[in-house]
């Protein structure tokens, strides 16, 4: 189903600038609320377009399973708690099913797991960062099976976390903790995040390196199986 792009345009070019403009007038740390609002507004079009499509049971179930798997994956690597596989699994979902499904899986995985660990100001940022990871991986690899060499994926995962997803997660700290938005302060926070993001990136890269092929196999098998069990006109 084709969707009219006016909603995305409304959000991107009207609502977000308006929020920024109005948010500027809040005295003191104007960026605290404003940045969170903007993040939420960026995510809304994704959710709306998913709703509009009236997703089928199978679509819903697959995204749900992948999100829950990502959230529960830490148990499988209980002996290696420093290895974060959650972003890797989200990226693989994006690679298998495209950017939109990837975004949704990431966002839902973050949101749902926060029901167990506690919601906080970080929730929208996590949703956005994890969602972006899925979206980004889907954007790059979804249509290009030939690009999916293990080492390419590994490097992709590592640098995506280090340069994009990690800083997005750190942005939450920037906007919610910093007393003043100055270049030095901001760089300080991002700089502090580098070691954590490196470990996170290594985990994600390793996950993509090792798990992409088997997981994609499993996913395509299950899609075949769905095809056999379903009789769709």
């Amino acid at each position: 189903m084709k969707q009219s792009p006016w909603l995305n345009i409304l959000f991107l070019f009207v609502l977000i600038p308006a929020t920024l403009f109005l948010g500027r007038s809040i005295p003191g740390r104007w960026y605290y609320l404003t940045s969170t609002l903007v993040i939420v507004e960026i995510m809304v079009p994704f959710f709306v377009s998913f709703e509009r499509r009236r997703p089928e049971a199978r679509e819903l179930v697959i995204v749900g399973v992948m999100a829950a798997l990502a959230a529960a994956s830490r148990v499988a690597f209980a002996v290696m708690p420093y290895l974060k596989v959650i972003t890797g699994i989200i990226m693989i979902t994006g690679i298998a099913f495209g950017p939109q499904a990837g975004f949704l899986t990431g966002a839902i995985a973050a949101f749902a797991s926060n029901f167990f660990f506690g919601q906080g100001p970080w929730t929208p940022w996590q949703m956005f960062a994890y969602g972006f990871a899925g979206f980004w991986a889907g954007l790059v690899f979804h249509g290009h099976p030939s690009w999916r060499k293990p080492w390419v994926l590994g490097l992709f995962g590592f640098f995506s976390i280090l340069l994009l997803v990690g800083p997005m997660l750190d942005s939450c700290t920037v906007f919610t903790v910093l007393p003043k938005l100055s270049l030095a302060n901001v760089l300080l926070i991002y700089g502090q995040g580098v070691p954590v993001n490196t470990i996170h990136g290594l985990g994600c890269g390793l996950t993509l390196l090792v798990l992409t092929k088997p997981l994609l196999q499993k996913l395509s098998r299950i899609q075949r199986k769905y095809g056999i069990l379903e009789d769709r006109q």
Binding site: I26, P27, G28, R29, Y32, L33, F47, F50, E51, R54, P55, E56, A57, R58, L60, V61, I62, V63, G64, V65, A67, A68, L69, A71, A72, S73, V75, A76, F77, A78, V79, M80, L83, L104, I108, F111, A112, S113, F115, F116, G118, Q119, G120, P121, T176, V177, P179, K180, N185, L188, L206, V210, L211, P214, L215, K218, L219, I222, Y226, L229
Partner: protein
């Protein structure tokens, strides 16, 4: 399980209350407002969590102290220089600002802590189920699966342990990675296979046949409407009354509080007051019988 009276209100009441309280909390830098918010937040948090909540609050004080003391290191503007550290001034104004930032930081955490206790997943879906039916259904499915998958992953790891494929802390990295991959791939197969059944079960029960209604156990009562009106009205008063301006660096300036502060306190006290009212009521019942 006991639920306090505010938690038993309609989710819309809960949501609007937290929206107002956290919204004001992070924006308003006036010390009186911030202190009031933090105090009420702590009181309500303790009412919700009981003695378990104490350790969380103690943990927060440590972080608050750190934020207060560290801020002057980042921010050197201000008139009253307390001392110099490696040539950089450590000012009173920055210290005060650090204090207020710490209070704001703490109050967000405390109120979000309350939010997590009060606005449970079923309340969230009750609230947004009509607006985003597919996503709230997706959320509900994921919330069911996370505990199930976690349990299954543990089972798989035990099962593999009992055929000599387990892992321990002292094994080489490669082996541990392999074992993790093994568990995850067994879990994935199991989960995907189960997803076929789940999809069948959904379609069996008519998913996609019609526009979904959103059933929930909560219904809006007159009292909920009254509470919503209170929250809205008080918020409006707080915004219009003003008197919550404050700036710290380079010059310390704190405006005088107005009647808006009273309205703010009333807003913050809604849950504890409801709690207290119920307590008194029950005590009287006990006394009368």
């Amino acid at each position: 399980m006991y639920q306090d009276p505010f938690s038993r209100c309609h989710p819309a009441v809960n949501f609007c209350f937290f929206l107002a309280v956290i919204g004001f909390g992070v924006v308003v830098q006036h010390p009186a407002y911030a202190a009031a918010s933090l105090t009420c937040g702590c009181v309500y948090y303790l009412l919700l969590r009981g003695r378990q909540g104490l350790s969380f609050l103690f943990g927060l004080t440590g972080i608050m102290l750190a934020i207060t003391l560290l801020n002057p290191l980042l921010n050197t503007s201000g008139r009253h220089i307390l001392f110099r550290l490696l040539g950089r001034p450590y000012t009173l104004e920055a210290l005060c600002y650090g204090g207020i930032l710490a209070v704001i930081f703490a109050l967000t955490f405390v109120w979000f802590g309350c939010y997590s206790q009060v606005l449970t997943s079923d309340k969230f879906t009750a609230l947004f189920g009509n607006l985003i039916p597919a996503i709230s259904l997706l959320l509900v499915m994921v919330l069911r699966q996370i505990p199930a998958f976690t349990r299954k992953a543990k089972q798989i790891s035990l099962a593999r342990g009992a055929i000599g494929k387990g892992t321990g802390e002292n094994q080489p990295f490669r082996q541990r990675l392999q074992s993790g991959v093994g568990i995850l791939s067994a879990l994935t197969d199991w989960a995907l296979e189960g997803s076929i059944v789940t999809a069948d079960s959904m379609r069996c029960r008519g998913y996609g046949c019609a526009r979904r209604t959103n059933f929930s156990l909560y219904r809006m009562t007159g009292r909920d409407v009254l509470l919503l009106a209170c929250i809205g009205g008080l918020s409006l008063v707080v915004m219009l009354a003003g008197g919550m301006e404050a700036s710290y660096t380079p010059n310390l300036y704190i405006s005088y509080i107005s009647y808006g502060f009273a309205a703010y306190c009333l807003l913050l006290l809604i849950p504890p007051v409801m709690y207290l009212r119920e307590r008194i009521l029950w005590n009287r019942f006990k006394f009368e019988t």
